[in-house]
Amino acid sequence: MQNNEVYKDINEDLKWAQINKDVLKSMENPRKGYWISVAVCLFLISFAVVGEVYQYNVGMGAANLNWPHMWDLYIATFIFWIGMSHAGTLLSAILHIMNADWRKPIYRFAEAMTTFSLMTAGLFPMIHLGRLWNMYWVLPYLTDRGIWPNFRSPLVWDAFAISTYLTSSALFLFIGMIPDLAICRDNARGWRKKLYTALSLGWRGDDRQWRNFRRTYLIMACFLIPLAVSVHSIVSSDFAMSIMPGWAVTSFPPYFVAGALYSGCAAIITLFILLRYYFRWEEYMTIAILEKTAKLTFAIAMVWTYLNLIEFASVWYGHSAADKEVLLAKFFGPYAPFFWGMIFCGSVVPFALAFEKLRRHLPTMMVVSILLNLGMWLERWMIVTPTLSLSYHPIAHDVMWPSWVQWFIVAGSFGWFGLLFLVFVKVFPSVSMYECKEMVLHRRELANKEISPVMANNPGGGAPATGVSSKSPGVEGS
């Protein structure tokens, strides 16, 4: 029995009041480590601000972009962050529809990650524009000039898809949080009381609210899944719709979606371990849940590897000289170290997840997840840049490395994401309280069924069938 403890997703003896207490505690009194993290994030952001201000004033040449390298790290990092945003959809929407209740303690921060990585990703198309001050021309707004954006352009699709995704995922995050915000409202004081009162919209948990809440949540989940798939396939069509060798690949949409889920899962593991460590959430972010996430990651890693191989094979047997040249340049050319680094991080490292011992070892998992993310970032870079360096026209073959401005802004994007996330964990409950309670209730019912099927078949028998019993301390006091 004792041995089985570590295999449990959540302890069914957990008191509901305890759940409230534990989660609410995470929102109080930031510790030293928190402030250090905030300082690090601000430091990174300041780098990006310096880079961007310089680039804004002197032009894109500052980023060491050139002919033919018109895009570089900005677009690669943009795809990386868009990919990261698929984590929340995977955990909260797909697993919600599939009734996988182990997602419940960890989906909230994954959803927050979705929203924040979209907010980070959305910055990059703006940063990479030559005339940033005119970026609103991409949006279809009414003007008396009689001109509109070019609706054929995948970049306009991006603008549509990303703004839809950002709106939907932010609403999804917010709607899912309303019952928890009501709990926060009941316990908060000062400015927080006002904030939560406004945000919880007068939630009191009556049956009408719960019923509509469930329906809404399910419907939004159903819409979020095709949306997430379409967003990343639209991002992939930035490349797949072109005619350049290495970009015009038919398998790009599924490849991008797989890569997105992959990097999202890896990032979930990273943040899972960090949150568990910072907030002492061993009760909620259990090893068992980590294992399940890791298995999922492993499966997606294999899908990603497979799609990679398919791409190589189709290029190899496609007999297009230019395509083949780009592929060979990736293998053996100047970008080879990064390419093989990507293969190593993305296809070899995930085999660590196949071993139970490693899956249960937190420091290893931390290193592995960071390596996976690094691999996914390299993947995006290896999609964007080699094609630009080695396209059809031999006179335009060139290699160019990004300048400090690009690196600063890329680093700053991590700081920006981190800062948003750090603010989130202190202002909002990053573990879903009501769903943990549901999970506890569910587990307890299962456990009772296993112990005494007679009792379970007889709900009126007075057995403590729920997480609350009249003997709980919270009730005695009243």
Binding site: K15, R152, S168, R208, F223, K437, E438, G474, S478
Partner: protein
């Protein structure tokens, strides 16, 4: 005849379900299970069996949203494109269907989600003034049954609450 509100807090779901069962069995004349408002920290899986089916309009609104998204999205794009004076030139289609399908798809999802959220906010009556009969315990681990009835039903309801081990009973006379 004054309207009154009465709220009974229960320590667990079973007691509360038993109380609802009593109301269902007409223990109090003039009160049916449809008058029950059930407050809980989570949505219990059996709640529909206990309270009986209560309809929700949200899926229908979502359907409307999707239909609106498709029609509005496509008409908006088509009208924008056919007003776009430079586009018809060069042998390109005025209304390019492949890209419009992609964009209409996004618009459909956007409007479905927006309609759903708006319907949620309206049907749950979240923007109404908060009622005073609310226990913070509901947010933690207790469940409650609430009635909004005439004064004369107060005592029988209270009796049913007491019979089913209510932890606390509150009442309020509306002015």
């Amino acid at each position: 005849m004054k309207k009154c509100r009465i709220l009974g807090l229960f320590g667990n779901f079973d007691d509360a379900f038993a109380a609802i069962g009593d109301f269902k069995n007409k223990k109090v004349d003039g009160i049916t299970v449809d008058d029950v408002t059930f407050l809980s920290p989570i949505e219990h899986p059996d709640i529909d069996d206990v309270l009986g089916p209560r309809p929700s309009v949200i899926p229908k609104v979502t359907l409307c949203g999707a239909a609106f998204g498709i029609t509005f999205g496509f008409l908006f794009l088509a009208s924008a494109q056919s007003n776009f004076l430079i586009q018809p030139q060069g042998g390109k289609p005025v209304v390019p269907l492949p890209s419009n399908i992609v964009l209409t798809y996004e618009m459909m999802i956007l409007f479905s989600v927006l309609f759903t959220v708006v319907a949620f906010l309206i049907t749950t009556r979240l923007f109404r003034k908060r009622k005073s009969l609310y226990s913070e315990k509901v947010g933690i681990d207790q469940v409650a049954i609430e009635f909004e009835v005439d004064e004369k039903y107060i005592d029988p309801i209270k009796g049913v609450f007491k019979d089913n081990h209510a932890v606390e009973v509150r009442e309020e006379v509306q002015s």
